[in-house]
Structures are given as structure tokens and as C-alpha cells.
């Protein structure tokens, strides 16, 4: 049953989703109505069947065919009562990529599984392929209607929980690097997949190394076409950068629009808020954040009007300046207290964490330097630099 569609008014959608949530979600206990505790798999299935997982996708592909603006109404309603499972068409990178570039067969077979399961992990980087990601060396060797995978991946978040990962692998070593890559939807829960957490400079361990030894993936799980993985991968990475440009990697609640910005709070606390020089710095920092929001709003308008916007590629770069800049100002405001950490000073712990975490934005998903190259080449049409290995068979490419 479709409870709202493209022709529904905002009020109709709001009513439909509120009524649905009332009937299915227990806001107080944070679980499905009638249940005593939250069961993720069952709840996600309920949301999926109502079409609320991916409201902007067409009805034949598990969505409601809604416009972005209409979908935001659903997102808000879910967020208001803290019900999970919504907006997977914005944040489930694996499902989005399969939906955008996968074959109909793969979409039919895997989208219901992906949308009702944990989000996919990303098996991209390797110890020897970071910024130069097209240099991946993880082998995929055909064996009947399967491929056998061997290699090492790094910087993988959610590797423990994920049931599937999007895997960049080498399927042809005798062509230049971009042309021998295949992109797989790879099952994580199997022998030959070993996950090892990485200790990060933030004190967290959200990333892992993934060691893959003769693990298997069906040939039908190729996302896009054999040896054309680099093209399919572009869709996935573009969405990832887009999500990062919205500050998703930040500490929760750090920059809520309606609350006092952290910098103002700290300046007041450390009695520096009347210093005109401090005020100039804080004003500029707040402005950078507001300007990035305005650019992203403009991007959304352009996307609604023209289907795309080059402004989107600026968000992640702008966010790096915002996060590193705010952390530096906050550190200066605290004076000696910034030397502390942990229980000794919660403010210092937060600021020191933010200072380290800012690298998550400026390195993760492609360093700022790579992002600047991309902006220069794709948005500004500046010519590419010489690529020494562009026309060399990958097996002859030098590596460290």
C-alpha cells in the first residue's frame, strides 16, 4: 500500500507518516509498538515495507517516488520520535551505489537485504593505495561463477557489524590501472575475512584493517561491469564526499543551529569574550560554518533545478577549514587548560578530540589535496597533470 506519493501535499505526507509512526513506533520505549525491546532487523523490515527507508526512490524499487523536499518531511518525523531506518537513500552508501549503478538483477536480489541490514562497509584503501586509490592490489580471480579474493584493506569503519562491504579489487593486471578494477558487493561474514581494529589519534577505534584470504564473492555481485569498477566507484565516492561536506563526522550536538556555539560558550567561560580580536576570530569561524550551509542550500536548489550542482564538491573542503579552524580557536581560548584531557578537564577533552577528529574530514574520503585536484579538474576545467602510470600495464607500475 502506498500511503503517500509525488502528488501528496506536505500536510498529507506529514499526516501519513505521523499516523504510521503512531501505529508502529513506541517513542517512549524506543522500539516497535507492542515489543518490549528494540529489534533492529524486524524494525528495519517494517520501515522498508512502508517505503520510508528510501522515499525518493521509485515505487518499483522499494521507495515512494517522492521529491527530496517531500522526503525531508519523513526524515523530520522519524528524527522527532527517534525512530531509526529512515533516509537510507541519503546515507546508506552501499544501497545507494547498488541502486545507481547495479544491474536490475543485483538490485532485485540485494537491495531488500541491504536496506534492512546494517550499512555496508567500504573496502577501498589499502596500505599502498590511499590517495592513489586506483592502485589497489587486492586480487580477484574468477573461479566458476564466483571470484576468489585475496588482499588487505584499511580504514574500514563498521567492519565488525557490516554484512556486506563495497570492495575495490584488481581483475586485470595487464591494462593500465583504472581499467582493470572491478567493484564488488562483498559478503563479510565468511571464512577468510579477518577484522582488526586500528587505534586512532582521537582515542577511538572506529576504523579497521581487513585481511582477506581466499574469500569468495558471487560474480553476480559485481556492481556495474567487470573491469569497469573505477566508473562505478565514482558514484559511491561522490556520495561519500557529499555526506562528509555536511559535517556528518562531527561530534554529536557540537554545532546545533539553535544552541549557543561552542566557541562563544568557551570565550565566555574563559573570560575572553570582550576581547575584540577574539570576537573577530569567533565571528569569522561562525561565518565559515554559516557560509558552508548557504552554499549547500544553493547546491540543493541547483540540484532540484538542473539535476546537479558543482557546489556540492566544495562542502568537504570547506568543512576542513571550519573544523581545524574552530579547534585552533577553542584551544587558544582555553589557555593552559588545553594541556589537560580526560576527567581532568571535559572542555579540554572535547577540544582536543575535535582537533584530532578534524583530520577525519580533511584526510578521510580523499585528502583535501586530492579534493582540490578534483575541484580544479572537474569543476574549473583545469587541465590534468601528467599521470606517469596512466598508460602503463598495472603489473609494471612502480610501487613503494
Amino acid at each position: 500500500m502506498t500511503i503517500c506519493d509525488r502528488n501528496s501535499s506536505p500536510e498529507e505526507i506529514e499526516n501519513a507518516v505521523d499516523t504510521w509512526l503512531d501505529a508502529h513506533w513506541d517513542s517512549d520505549r524506543r522500539c516497535a509498538k507492542g515489543d518490549s525491546s528494540y529489534d533492529e532487523a524486524t524494525w528495519l523490515k517494517t520501515v522498508f515495507e512502508a517505503g520510508f527507508c528510501v522515499p525518493t526512490w521509485p515505487t518499483e524499487w522499494f521507495g515512494l517516488g517522492l521529491r527530496q523536499k517531500q522526503a525531508r518531511i519523513i526524515e523530520k518525523a522519524f528524527a522527532k520520535c527517534k525512530a531509526p531506518g529512515h533516509s537510507r537513500d541519503r546515507f546508506h552508501l552501499g544501497a545507494i551505489t547498488v541502486f545507481k549503478v547495479g544491474s536490475d538483477e543485483l538490485k532485485r536480489a540485494m537491495l531488500p537485504t541491504l536496506l534492512t541490514g546494517p550499512i555496508c562497509c567500504l573496502l577501498y584503501s589499502e596500505p599502498n593505495a590511499g590517495s592513489d586509490l586506483a592502485g589497489v592490489r587486492t586480487k580477484a580471480i574468477p573461479d566458476g561463477d564466483e571470484f576468489v579474493i585475496t588482499g588487505q584493506k584499511i580504514w574500514t569503519s563498521n567492519a565488525q557489524e557490516a554484512e556486506y562491504g563495497m570492495l575495490l579489487s584488481r581483475t586485470d593486471w595487464d591494462v593500465p590501472k583504472h581499467r582493470g578494477i572491478t567493484f564488488f558487493l562483498f559478503p563479510m561474514k565468511q571464512d577468510g575475512v579477518e577484522v582488526k581494529p586500528i587505534n586512532q589519534i582521537t582515542g577511538e577505534s572506529e576504523f579497521n584493517e581487513v585481511f582477506i584470504t581466499e574469500a569468495r564473492v558471487p560474480a553476480s555481485h559485481i556492481i556495474g561491469n567487470l573491469n569497469e569498477g573505477w566508473t562505478s566507484f565514482q558514484t559511491a565516492i561522490a556520495y561519500e564526499r557529499l555526506i562528509m561536506g555536511q559535517g556528518i563526522t562531527e561530534r554529536q550536538g557540537k554545532s546545533k543551529a539553535d544552541s549557543e556555539p561552542q566557541l562563544i560558550r568557551l570565550a565566555r567561560k574563559y573570560d575572553k569574550y570582550d576581547d575584540p580580536a577574539v570576537r573577530q576570530k569567533i565571528a569569522q569561524a561562525l561565518a565559515y560554518r554559516e557560509l558552508n550551509n548557504l552554499n549547500m542550500e544553493r547546491a540543493k536548489e541547483e540540484i532540484l533545478k538542473n539535476g546537479s550542482s558543482s557546489l556540492m564538491s566544495l562542502g568537504k573542503l570547506a568543512m576542513s577549514r571550519i573544523q581545524h579552524g574552530e579547534a585552533a580557536i577553542a584551544t587558544d581560548l582555553m589557555g593552559n587548560e588545553a594541556l589537560l584531557d580526560g576527567e581532568e578537564s571535559l572542555d579540554a577533552a572535547n577540544v582536543n578530540f575535535d582537533a584530532a577528529k578534524a583530520y577525519m574530514n580533511s584526510i578521510g574520503g580523499g585528502t583535501d589535496q586530492i579534493q582540490k585536484n578534483i575541484i580544479a579538474e572537474r569543476v574549473l576545467n583545469l587541465p590534468k597533470g601528467p599521470d606517469l602510470d596512466r598508460n602503463t600495464a598495472f603489473r609494471d607500475v612502480k610501487s613503494s
Binding site: A283, Q284, N295, K372, L380
Partner: protein
């Protein structure tokens, strides 16, 4: 609120941009700068014919009754071509204030002339708001049998040398007063040597100059006029920043060294990408400020302050790096880059310094908490 439909607005902008493409090249710009008034009067006349000069003038007084967005679109195109025309001072600041606060007879006399391009009004550029010049002027007004008379000095007046009227402010008992003063023998004008040849500045010396006092300066109306003026100036700067950026990108694509276009070097690409953030931020800020004004938003003042310093600073940063990225060629007088850079540097203090608006922005953020 604007009386102009979205389609008409787009047509207006496109028509003006096309006109400028053929009529406002660098040669014309330089001829204008060298001319008596400092700008091409032919272009000014054409702008009047296209209806652009009366956008901010109410319909019943011969104008179009447009909103801040309409004005911003025109200002942006003016900025792109660096036209040194008195658009913001005459057609925004003066038009807004006259339409709100001048006696009806004065409105009927002056506003049609503003729309028609036959009347230029100068506005004092020093001080922290438009149009009042508090730092540098020593004006005082007296009321006699003949009405108001203003005496004293005021500096940093763009277009002061050829304006038909001067719109000047004084502080009276702690609040702002505004006077409209016609150019006469009681106003002696001397040029100030300005760094930007296209932004000519004058010093005015007034001796009992006859003046029309603008009455009933309600804070709301004054605030509206001021916000619209600042937003227009910001849009002009955003347009100028984009234009010199585009000129620089074109150079990076076509200038070869070491056997390859210099834009293929990462050193250049990284500068370009960083500057694009500034250019787009300026555009977004200027557009948002104008939209917020038109929507009557309570946040309008905040976004106007944001646009004010963002566009000034972006223009300076982009035009300064434009010279650097061009290299030696832009160190020459005959290259256009320095004209953008000079205008940008002049834009920082004029009509309120960037730092002033940054502080205003922070105050507005605090007020909203």
C-alpha cells in the same frame, strides 16, 4: 516585496549581461576611467533606457518597485565588469532614502530623474554605515528662515565631483540626521588622490549649503534602506570577485610553461580550488542577504552583515591571488587584474569596514540565541 516576476527578473539580468558583454569591454572601462566623470556615460544612459536605474524606485514615482534581489542581480553584473558607475549610491542608497523620507515634492522631482539617468547623488563613504559618515565629517545643520543649511567638511565621497546632489549625515542629539544638498557654489569639491583610479573620491567643504532634511527617520525604514544598500554593494563585490576569478582560470588553461598549461600544476589547482570556495561563498551570502530582506526575515540584518564582510574579503582575497597566479603579466599596468585588486582594496573600508560587519554579525548571532 518585488513587483517583478521570476521570468522578468531573469530576462532583465540576461539582457543586461548581454549588453555589457558587447559594450563594457576593458577598453571602454579604461576610456571611462580616463573621462571627466570617471565612467562611461553612454552605458549609464543605456542602463536608464533598460529600466535598471529605477528598480528600487516605487512604481508610482516612475520606477519599477523591485526588491533587493532585483537590485542585487544588476549590481552583480556591474561588479563583474567593474563599471565605476554611481549605481549603488544613486539608485539604491539615495533612491531608497528619498522614496522613504523626502518630502513628496522632492520625491516627484528627483526620483524620475534618478530612474532616467539624469541625476547623480553622491553619498559619504567613510564611517560604519550607509550613508552616514561619522568618522570623518564635521557637518552641522542650522535652521533659518530659508530652511535648513549645512556647513562643514566631509571626506571620502565617491562621485562627489560630478554629483547633482549630495546625501550627507550628521549626528544631532545622539541620533542620525540626513540632508539632501544640491551641488552649488556653497559646496566646494576638491578631489582626493585615490589609489583606485576608478573609485574617485572627493572632499566636500560646505558653507551654509541649502539642504532638504529627510524627516521621520524611523529606525525600521532607515534599517531597511541601509540593509538594501549594503546588500547591493555586497552583490557588486561578489560579481567582481567571480569575474576576476574567471579571468584567472582562463589564463591557467591557456598559458603554457614547461610544455604544459600552468593550470595543470597542483600548486595552481590548489589555489584555484581554495578561491572557488571564497567566490561561491560570496555569491551565496549576497544572494541570501537580498532574499532575506525581500522576505522580511527577522534574520535579514544578520545575513546582510555576513554578506558585507564576506563579499569584501572574498573580493580582496581573490583579486590579490589573481595577480599572483598570473605572474609578471599582472604586475603591469596594462593588465586588468590590478584594477580589480584596487577596487577590492577600496571596498574593504568604504561604507563600513569588514571588521565592523564581522562584529555586527556576531552581535546578531548573540541576539538570536
Amino acid at each position: 516585496m518585488s513587483q517583478i516576476s521570476d521570468n522578468d527578473r531573469q530576462a532583465l539580468r540576461d539582457g543586461f549581461a548581454r549588453f555589457l558583454e558587447t559594450n563594457a569591454n576593458e577598453e571602454k572601462l579604461r576610456q571611462g576611467i580616463a573621462s571627466e566623470r570617471g565612467y562611461d556615460e553612454g552605458i549609464w544612459g543605456q542602463m536608464a533606457a533598460m529600466g535598471l536605474l529605477g528598480i528600487a524606485v516605487p512604481e508610482d514615482l516612475g520606477g519599477i518597485g523591485g526588491g533587493a534581489v532585483d537590485v542585487a542581480l544588476v549590481a552583480e553584473e556591474i561588479g563583474k565588469k567593474l563599471l565605476p558607475v554611481p549605481y549603488v549610491s544613486t539608485c539604491v542608497v539615495a533612491a531608497e532614502l528619498i522614496a522613504r523620507f523626502a518630502p513628496v515634492s522632492v520625491q516627484r522631482e528627483l526620483l524620475p530623474k534618478i530612474s532616467g539617468g539624469t541625476l547623480v547623488v553622491s553619498v559619504g563613504g567613510a564611517g560604519d554605515c550607509i550613508p552616514y559618515a561619522d568618522d570623518e565629517n564635521s557637518l552641522s545643520a542650522t535652521h533659518g528662515n530659508d530652511g535648513w543649511a549645512v556647513s562643514g567638511d566631509v571626506s571620502y565621497v565617491p562621485h562627489g565631483g560630478h554629483a547633482d546632489y549630495h546625501l550627507l549625515g550628521t549626528m544631532e542629539n545622539g541620533s542620525q540626521a540626513l540632508y539632501l544638498i544640491s551641488a552649488s557654489e556653497n559646496v566646494s569639491v576638491s578631489p582626493m588622490t585615490s589609489n583606485d583610479p576608478a573609485q574617485r573620491l572627493s572632499r566636500l567643504h560646505l558653507t551654509d549649503a541649502k539642504a532638504v532634511k529627510l524627516e521621520g527617520l524611523a529606525p525600521s525604514g532607515l534599517g531597511q534602506a541601509s540593509m538594501r544598500s549594503i546588500a547591493a554593494a555586497a552583490a557588486e563585490q561578489a560579481g567582481a570577485a567571480r569575474a576576476i576569478f574567471d579571468i584567472t582560470m582562463e589564463y591557467l588553461r591557456t598559458r603554457y610553461q614547461f610544455g604544459r598549461p600552468i593550470g595543470s600544476f597542483q600548486a595552481m589547482k590548489h589555489m584555484a580550488a581554495e578561491l572557488l570556495v571564497e567566490v561561491e561563498s560570496a555569491t551565496s551570502a549576497a544572494l541570501t542577504a537580498a532574499r532575506m530582506i525581500d522576505a522580511g526575515s527577522v534574520d535579514a540584518a544578520k545575513f546582510v552583515a555576513l554578506a558585507a564582510f564576506t563579499c569584501k574579503d572574498a573580493f580582496r582575497a581573490v583579486s590579490a591571488q589573481a595577480i599572483q597566479m598570473h605572474g609578471g603579466i599582472a604586475y603591469t599596468e596594462e593588465h586588468i587584474a590590478h584594477l580589480y585588486w584596487r577596487r577590492a582594496r577600496a571596498s574593504i573600508p568604504l561604507f563600513g569596514h569588514s571588521d565592523h560587519y564581522r562584529e555586527q554579525y556576531l552581535k546578531a548571532r548573540e541576539a538570536a540565541l
